[in-house]
Symmetry: C2
Subunit: 345 residues, 2 copies
C-alpha cells in the first residue's frame, strides 16, 4: 500500500460530497493499493484543521454539514491562513474547492501555483484558475511532472476534458456550442412555462440551484468562465472570462421566450467557440435554438455540450440534471487519473 | 521508428475510409514514432494481396473503389483464403472489417481467435465477434497481453467503450437506452413526416443508408447485435444477439407514428438494458418516447445512447448523422490506443 495524502481547500457542498463519495467508492479504489488520507482542510471562514495522521472524515463531515469551525480537529502544526497551508502542508495532492472569483481568478491561482511548485498534484472544482491561467499552470505542472486537472469545473463533472484527451485521439476540436449554466437554463425553462423572470429566479433560489446573489449567472459570468476553460483546454486558447464577448439573459421577457417557443425555437444561453484566422473566438449569448438541435432539449438543471470535430463531426454530451454529487464525481475521476498515471502498481 | 504491420480482413467502405483517414492523419501519428505498413488485405470475393514491404495504399484504394480484384498487388507468398491469411500473415495488428453474420458471428470469431492466439492485436469494425464471443476473446487477448478493441461497432465510432473505460472510473453502468440503428431511425423519422414505410425504406436505400436487403435492420437484428456488445462490454454480460428479446418496426404504420407524434411522442427503436437479480436484461423494441427525453430528438441517421450510471446519473452521447467516415475513425482511435498502450516511447 502506498500512502496518498490529500489536502483540501474549502469545505463547501462539493468538497463535502467528494468526501462522502470517497467513502462510498472505497471498494473501487482498493485495487490501486493506495491508502488515502486527508491530512488537512483549510476554509475561509471556519478555520483550518490539519493532522499528519489523517483527519477523521465522519467527524469532519458532521462539522462541515453543521457549518461549525473545523479548528478543533487540528492536531499538530497550526497554519495561519490558506496560503501558509498550501505552502507548508505535507501532502501529495491538493484538492482546490474554493469559490469562483470571476474578476481575476485569485487567490486560487496563487494557491495552485504554490502547490504545483512544491510538487503536489492539483485537482480543482473551482473555475478560477483554469479560466484565468490554464496554460501557465499546465506548463508548470508538466515541468514538475505533476497533474493539474479540472474535470469538475464544466458540465458538473461529466467527462469533457478527459473525453477529448483520452477518447478522441488525432482529433481537432473545430468549435463547440454548450449550455453550461444551470441557473439561466432553469430560469429560461420556467419562463417558457409562463413564469415571470423574477419568479423563475426565486424558484431556482428556493431549490438551491441559484445563489443568493445570482448576478454571475444571469449576466453570463459563470458561462464565460466555463467557456474560457473550454477554449483554453480544447482549442489551445489563452483567454480569460473578461475577454469572452458576453450577453446575459436579463433583457429577455417571458413574452419573448414564449413567442419564440411558438415559432419552434427555444431561448438558451449558449457558450460558443469557433476558429477564426487561426485563433479561437468565443462568446456567450442567448440564442433561439431550433427544436431540431439537441441543445433545444436540454432543460432545467441539465447541461450539454456539442463538440464540433474534424473526425466525428458533431458529438453532443448531455448530462441530465447535474447537481453537486456529479461535480464531486469529477474530482474523484481526476483523483483516479492521478493515481493511475503516477502511482500505478 | 518502430515498424507496425497492419493486416486487414475486408475491403468494404469502412476499410477504405480507414485507409484514407490513415493517410490524412499521418501528422497526428508522427509523434508516436511508428511506421505503419499495410502488409496484407484479404477479401471474400476479390482475392488476397500481401506484401511484406507494404502495399501501395493509393493503388489499393483505387482498386478498392473500382471494385476490382486485389490479387495483382500480391508480392510474395500467396494465401488460399482468409483463414490461412490470418493464420500466417506476418503482422502486428489485424483490422477485421468483414460483414456481420447475425446468426452465429462466424467466421469472424475464428479469424480473431486465430490472430490473438498468434499474438496479434485485433481491432474490429464488425459486430460479429464482440456480439457473440466478447468475454472469451477479451480473456484470450488479456492472456496474450494483446488488445481486442471494437469501438467502431456501436454509434459509428463515437467513443462509447473508451468513454466508460477511460473517463468513468469507479462507475457502475446500471443500464442504458439507445438508438443504435440508422435505417430504422431514418425510416421512422420519414414516416413521421407522412411517408409510407416502403417509400421511407426506398429513400434510405437510395441514400445508401439501408442495405439492399434491409431485413436485419427492420427486424431489429442489427440493434440486437449492438445491444449484445454493449451488455457484454459495459455490464459484464455473456449474451448473444439471439438471446436479446427483439421486436422490429415492421408492424408500425405511418398512421400510428403520426398519431403518436400528435400526442407528443416519437416512435424510436430502442435498445435497452437494466440489471435484474444481478443479471443484465436487455431488449430491442419500438417505444413511444416522450419529447422531454433527449432520445426523442435523435433523428434520421443520428444515433445516441443514454448511459445510466451510479456516479453521474444519466449521461447521453449523441452522434449527429454518423456515416462511414465516423465508423472508420473508431478503427483509428482503437489503433492509437494500441500504439499508446503497447508501443509508447
Amino acid at each position: 500500500m502506498t500512502d496518498l495524502r490529500l489536502a483540501m481547500l474549502g469545505l463547501g457542498s462539493v468538497a463535502q460530497a467528494f468526501l462522502r463519495l470517497l467513502a462510498q467508492k472505497s471498494d473501487d479504489l482498493a485495487p490501486h493499493r493506495i491508502s488515502l488520507k486527508l491530512v488537512g482542510v483549510a476554509t475561509r471562514s471556519r478555520g483550518i484543521a490539519a493532522n499528519p495522521a489523517g483527519l477523521d472524515l465522519a467527524q469532519l463531515l458532521e462539522i462541515g454539514a453543521a457549518g461549525q469551525p473545523v479548528d478543533n480537529l487540528n492536531n499538530g502544526r497550526r497554519f495561519a491562513d490558506s496560503l501558509e497551508f498550501v505552502q507548508n502542508i505535507q501532502a501529495d495532492v491538493l484538492l482546490e474547492c474554493i469559490t469562483l472569483n470571476p474578476a481575476s481568478g485569485q487567490p486560487a491561482i496563487d494557491y495552485i501555483s504554490a502547490a504545483l511548485q512544491r510538487g503536489l498534484h492539483v485537482i480543482t472544482a473551482n473555475k478560477s484558475a483554469p479560466a484565468f491561467a490554464l496554460a501557465r499552470l499546465s506548463d508548470l505542472a508538466r515541468r514538475q511532472k505533476k497533474a493539474f486537472l479540472y474535470e469538475a469545473t464544466v458540465l458538473d463533472g461529466t467527462p469533457v476534458f478527459s473525453f477529448v484527451r483520452d477518447t478522441l485521439p488525432a482529433t481537432k476540436i473545430l468549435g463547440f456550442r454548450g449550455i453550461l449554466n444551470s441557473t439561466t437554463n432553469f430560469v429560461l425553462t420556467a419562463m417558457e412555462e409562463g413564469l415571470p423572470p423574477e419568479d423563475a429566479l426565486r424558484q431556482a433560489q428556493a431549490l438551491g440551484i441559484a445563489e443568493a446573489n445570482p448576478d454571475y449567472d444571469l449576466d453570463g459570468w459563470d458561462s464565460a468562465a466555463k467557456t474560457a476553460i473550454l477554449v483554453n483546454a480544447l482549442m489551445s486558447g489563452s483567454t480569460t472570462p473578461d475577454q469572452i464577448a458576453r450577453t446575459g439573459i436579463r433583457h429577455l421577457t417571458t413574452r419573448t421566450v414564449i413567442e419564440a417557443a411558438r415559432q419552434g425555437r427555444r431561448f438558451k444561453l449558449l457558450s460558443e467557440a469557433v476558429w477564426r484566422d487561426n485563433h479561437p473566438v468565443a462568446r456567450v449569448l442567448p440564442r433561439m435554438v431550433p427544436l431540431t438541435n439537441p441543445l433545444a432539449h436540454v432543460s432545467g438543471t441539465s447541461a450539454a455540450i456539442t463538440l464540433i470535430t474534424d473526425t466525428l463531426g458533431e458529438v453532443t454530451l448531455h448530462l441530465h440534471e447535474g447537481e453537486v454529487p456529479q461535480t464531486a464525481y469529477g474530482l474523484l475521476a481526476d483523483l483516479i487519473t492521478v493515481i493511475k498515471s503516477h502511482y500505478a502498481k
